[in-house]
Structures are given as structure tokens and as C-alpha cells.
């Protein structure tokens, strides 16, 4: 029994991580109908920047070395400075993406924007490699780690403190985001743009500004998600592949729903752990790798708009 609870708990907590990544997707998709393939790489890039700053790595050190320039002048940056710097980098990135990519693709087909984000993903990944190198970096942001003792002592259930911390952070983030979008001027503008571009323009909302804000927020969410994953398993380039796990999460939850992204993440987290536990022994394990996709496929057949997505009804 305690083993089952342990499995479900660890599934829920892994699900929180998926939800965090999916959340970044939903934000951008709602505001601009862009499926941002680069969201996973944004997580990677943010975590990479944070980890490297804290390790005192010099940006472009390989490049500088090749050019014969000094390449180890960066001091080790303490976390309370490194985090704001990383946030600024992500906001700067949002500006650059709007200025050099999105601005030229306004009113294009969604597939073209999607292709642009694939390109963006590769550019960013290469950029991350060039700036910070491709070695696995430890990232310790001072979150508690190890087993939660009293749970272990009393119920014999192993729960990682780090994962609890991740769940708390994710909850706070989601609450903050929904309060922001519900009660502030910019939040209202964001919702307006998500609802109707033309009407938003007619009340004086600048789409460019909104896009920069949305990508900045998505960058911030990516930083949180990337930090959590990085703290768990080190910052490595396979992090960008998590983006692919977020895809089934979105199909489950619906591309336009924040609660959907969260619930979808949790269902997939728990589902794949349970599948591994119960069906794994019979079909040889490694179910975790593909379970999410099969579940998503089943969902596409039954409820293509997802749990909370907007139902697409075409009037004829």
C-alpha cells in the first residue's frame, strides 16, 4: 500500500515538472496562437545561464580562447544576483525574438510561425552551447534535498524534499500568474489579446508590447522549470527534450487552458509511474518513455480539444 502511495506521490511531483513546462507553452499559445517549439530550449537556456553564472563560467569562453582573448574573468556570482541577471537575460531574449523573428511574421499562417520557433530552438540551443559549453552543470539553488524524514519514519514512504519544493514553487507561480492576469491592467490586456486580436487593437493595445511581455513571462516560467529540472538532475542539454513530454500534456489538458496544463501534467506524471509499476513487469519496462504519447493519442481520438480546451465548432 505504501508503495502505491509512494508511486502516486512521485508521479504527482514529476507531473508538476511537466506542468511547469507546459505552462510556458500555454501562455504563448493563448496570446499569439503560436505553438512555441522552443519552450523546452528556453528552459535549458535559462537554467544554463543561471548555473553558469553561479559557477563563474565566462560566456563564450571557448570562442574567446580560440581568439586568444582572456576567458576566465567572470567571478562566481551569488544566487541573489544570478537570478535577477538571468531574468533580465530572458527578458532581453523576448525583445530579440520579437524584434528579429515575430515582427516579420505577423499575420502569417500558424505553421510558418511554428517553423520559425523550430528554427529558434536550434539557434538557442547552439547559442547556449557556444556561450556556456555543453558539459553537465550542477545547479544548487539552496532548495532542500533528500528524503522527507517524518514521512519516511512514520509511514515508510519516501518523498524527495526537492520535489515537494518544486510543487510549492509551481503552485505559487500559478497563483501569482492567475492573480496577475485577473487583476492588473497588463493582465487584462493579455487576456484581451488572447481573446481577439482585432478588438484588442481597437482599444489601443499594442500587439508587439504584449508579445514581448508574454515571451518574457514564458521566459520566466522557463527559468523556474529549468531550475527545478536542473536542481534534480543537473543542467544538461537533454533538458530541451522535456519539451516533447509537454506535448502530450498539452493534448490532454488543451492548448489554451492553464488549469488544463497543470492537470494534464499531473495525469501524465502519475499515469506513467503507475503504468511502469503495474504493466512494466509484463511488457518489459521502459513504459515511462512512451506512455504519455499513447495516452495523448487515445485522447486525440476521444476528445481532441483536450480536457479544458476550447471546442472548435465551425459554422457552416
Amino acid at each position: 500500500m505504501s508503495y502505491l502511495i509512494e508511486t502516486i506521490l512521485s508521479g504527482l511531483l514529476a507531473g508538476v515538472m511537466y506542468s511547469l513546462v507546459a505552462l510556458g507553452f500555454v501562455l504563448i499559445f493563448k496570446a499569439s496562437q503560436i505553438f512555441n517549439f522552443a519552450q523546452g530550449v528556453l528552459c535549458l537556456f535559462a537554467a544554463l545561464t543561471l548555473a553558469s553564472l553561479m559557477l563563474g563560467n565566462t560566456p563564450f569562453s571557448e570562442l574567446l580562447h580560440t581568439l586568444g582573448l582572456p576567458n576566465d574573468w567572470m567571478p562566481v556570482v551569488p544566487i541573489w544576483i544570478a537570478v535577477p541577471i538571468t531574468i533580465l537575460v530572458m527578458i532581453g531574449l523576448a525583445f530579440v525574438i520579437e524584434r528579429f523573428v515575430l515582427r516579420y511574421l505577423v499575420n502569417q499562417e500558424p505553421i510558418i510561425l511554428f517553423m520559425a520557433t523550430i528554427g529558434l530552438a536550434y539557434v538557442l540551443e547552439g547559442m547556449g552551447d557556444l556561450m556556456w559549453g555543453s558539459d553537465v552543470k550542477p545547479l544548487s539553488v539552496g532548495l532542500p534535498e533528500g528524503a522527507l524524514d517524518w514521512m519516511f519514519d512514520r509511514f515508510d514512504i519516501y518523498v524527495d524534499k526537492l520535489e515537494i519544493a518544486a510543487a510549492v514553487v509551481a503552485t505559487v507561480l500559478v497563483i501569482a500568474l492567475s492573480l496577475f492576469s485577473q487583476y492588473t491592467r497588463i493582465g487584462r490586456a493579455l487576456r484581451a489579446v488572447a481573446d481577439d486580436h482585432q478588438a484588442a487593437l481597437s482599444v489601443g493595445i499594442s500587439l508587439r508590447t504584449i508579445w514581448i511581455i508574454v515571451w518574457s513571462i514564458a521566459g520566466f516560467v522557463a527559468l523556474v522549470a529549468g531550475t527545478m529540472w536542473g536542481a534534480k538532475s543537473g543542467v544538461q542539454f537533454s533538458l530541451s527534450l522535456i519539451a516533447l513530454k509537454a506535448l502530450p500534456v498539452l493534448i490532454l489538458g488543451g492548448f489554451t487552458s492553464i488549469p488544463g496544463a497543470i492537470l494534464g501534467g499531473l495525469i501524465i506524471g502519475v499515469g506513467e509511474k503507475l503504468a511502469e509499476l503495474y504493466a512494466g513487469p509484463y511488457i518489459g519496462g521502459a513504459i515511462e518513455n512512451w506512455f504519455a504519447y499513447v495516452l495523448a493519442l487515445a485522447f486525440l481520438l476521444v476528445r481532441p480539444q483536450g480536457l479544458f480546451g476550447e471546442r472548435i465548432i465551425e459554422r457552416v
Binding site: R185, G187, D195
Partner: protein, 264 residues
């Protein structure tokens, strides 16, 4: 009816020789007219006459190939729709473009966005100045809600409202921006007689009480003639008539355009 009062007003907007083409199709050809401060100006014409295109030109959704727009005594340079909104031109849409997932209150609050610029990004997160500003603008919005008699649907998501009420909310949103010029694209399309009468009353009251200049497009000739000071008539992208409702009503070209002419 006092046609003599018309010339005493200042010109708020003047469109001069506007031509708009989409590829090979000319939607508007060499149209000029003016809109006077404080008047209700109607643009009428049969289907495909270029009425909505004209509104979209004024509002900045379309950029004409030729012609000038003068607004408040200045020639307007090419601007984006959101910049034009900030310059005091608000509009409604023929097919209702509300933020469907948001409540009536929130929808009308979006009309105040251009007026709320004091708070910076982070102030929006930490309450205080941003909250005070919010309350201040809420009062304006509540006045508009009272005025349009939609108190009972303040917290209802507009997607659930009946058509006539949605039209009214949309008017409220445009009004919230306190526009110098209010563009109404078929404000009475698809309404029953009762709703039309309500809407007429609101339009006239908006004109009176808020002092907004109104340019409206309408299909229903009867309605237009009752509420507008002057009327522009378009047909096939050209202007075929311009004047007070009485003048326009008796103009042979206008009658022909609306009723069709027998070809011998």
C-alpha cells in the same frame, strides 16, 4: 430640423481623395468627406459599397494607397490601429468583437487601457498605486454601465449574453475610451425593432451626454435618417451623395442605387 446649425461646427475629421485597392480590386475610389465636431454622421450604401472599408481606413486597419486623413486639424501620418485608438478614435465591429471569455465589466475596463499608463510593470504586481488607478477607472466604467442599463450583467462572461446586449457592451467598451470620434459599424444589424429603438436612444444619448462625435455605418435607411445629422452615400466604392437626411432621401442617384434602376 435646423440645417443652418451645421456649418457652425468645427471640422473634426476630413478624409480627402481616399483610394483603397486590394490587388486589382478597387474598394474605395477617390472619396472625400468631412465629419464635424459633435455631429452624428452616417455612411450608408448597398452591400459592397465600401462602407466598412472606409471605417477600417479611418481606424487604421487598412492603409489607403492614395489620399489624406486630417484629424483635429492635422494631417495624420500612417499609424497602427492601436496608435489611432490612443489618439481618440474608438470603434465597434459589425460582427461584434468582444473578449468573449471576459465579463462585461472587464470588457469595458479594457476600453480604459489607453488611459491607464501610470503604473509600471512591477507596480502592477505590487498593489498600491496600480490599485488606486484601477479604482479610479472602475468609477468611470460603472457610470457607463449605469448609462447603458447593463448593471445586471456586470459579472457575466459576454460570450453568454444575447446578441443585443453584446452590442451594447461593445458600445460601452468603445465609450470607456472617451473617444473624440466614435465609429459604429452597423450598430443595429440583426436587431429586432425594440432593440433597435434602444440602440438609437443610446447613440443619441452618447452624442448628447458624452459629447462624442459619431460616425456610423448602417443598412437600415429608416434608422439612419432618424438619428443622423448628415449622411454620406457610397455605391461601388464611390461617393454618390452627401448631405442632410432630407437632401439624400430625395436624391435620384441615391434612390436608384438603393432600389436599382431599370435598364432599357
Amino acid at each position: 430640423m435646423e440645417p443652418e446649425t451645421v456649418p457652425q461646427r468645427d471640422v473634426l475629421m476630413e478624409v480627402r481623395n481616399i483610394t483603397l485597392r486590394f490587388g486589382g480590386v478597387t474598394a474605395i475610389e477617390d472619396i472625400s468627406f468631412d465629419i464635424l465636431e459633435g455631429e452624428v454622421r452616417a455612411i450608408i450604401g448597398p452591400n459592397g459599397a465600401g462602407k466598412s472599408s472606409m471605417l477600417n481606413v479611418i481606424n487604421g486597419f487598412y492603409h489607403p494607397q492614395e489620399g489624406e486623413i486630417w484629424f483635429r486639424g492635422e494631417k495624420r501620418k500612417a499609424m497602427k490601429p492601436h496608435e489611432i485608438a490612443r489618439h481618440g478614435i474608438a470603434r465597434t465591429f459589425q460582427n461584434i468583437a468582444l473578449f468573449r471569455g471576459m465579463t462585461t465589466l472587464d470588457n469595458i475596463m479594457t476600453g480604459r487601457l489607453t488611459k491607464m499608463h501610470r503604473n509600471m510593470f512591477w507596480q502592477a504586481i505590487w498593489r498600491g498605486p496600480a490599485e488606486r488607478e484601477e479604482v479610479e477607472h472602475r468609477e468611470v466604467v460603472e457610470r457607463i454601465i449605469d448609462f447603458l442599463e447593463i448593471q445586471h450583467i456586470r459579472k457575466t462572461p459576454v460570450g453568454r449574453l444575447p446578441y443585443g446586449l453584446q452590442k451594447r457592451v461593445e458600445l460601452g467598451r468603445a465609450l470607456a475610451a472617451e473617444p473624440k470620434l466614435l465609429l459604429l459599424d452597423e450598430p443595429m444589424a440583426g436587431m429586432n425593432i425594440e432593440e433597435k429603438e434602444d440602440m438609437c436612444r443610446f447613440i443619441l444619448d452618447v452624442n448628447d451626454e458624452f459629447g462624442a462625435t459619431i460616425a456610423l455605418i448602417e443598412h437600415d435607411m429608416g434608422v439612419v435618417m432618424d438619428i443622423s445629422d448628415r449622411v454620406v452615400v457610397l455605391d461601388y466604392g464611390r461617393k454618390i451623395g452627401d448631405g442632410t437626411p432630407d437632401v439624400v432621401r430625395n436624391d435620384q442617384t441615391v434612390i436608384d442605387a438603393y432600389l436599382g434602376v431599370a435598364h432599357e
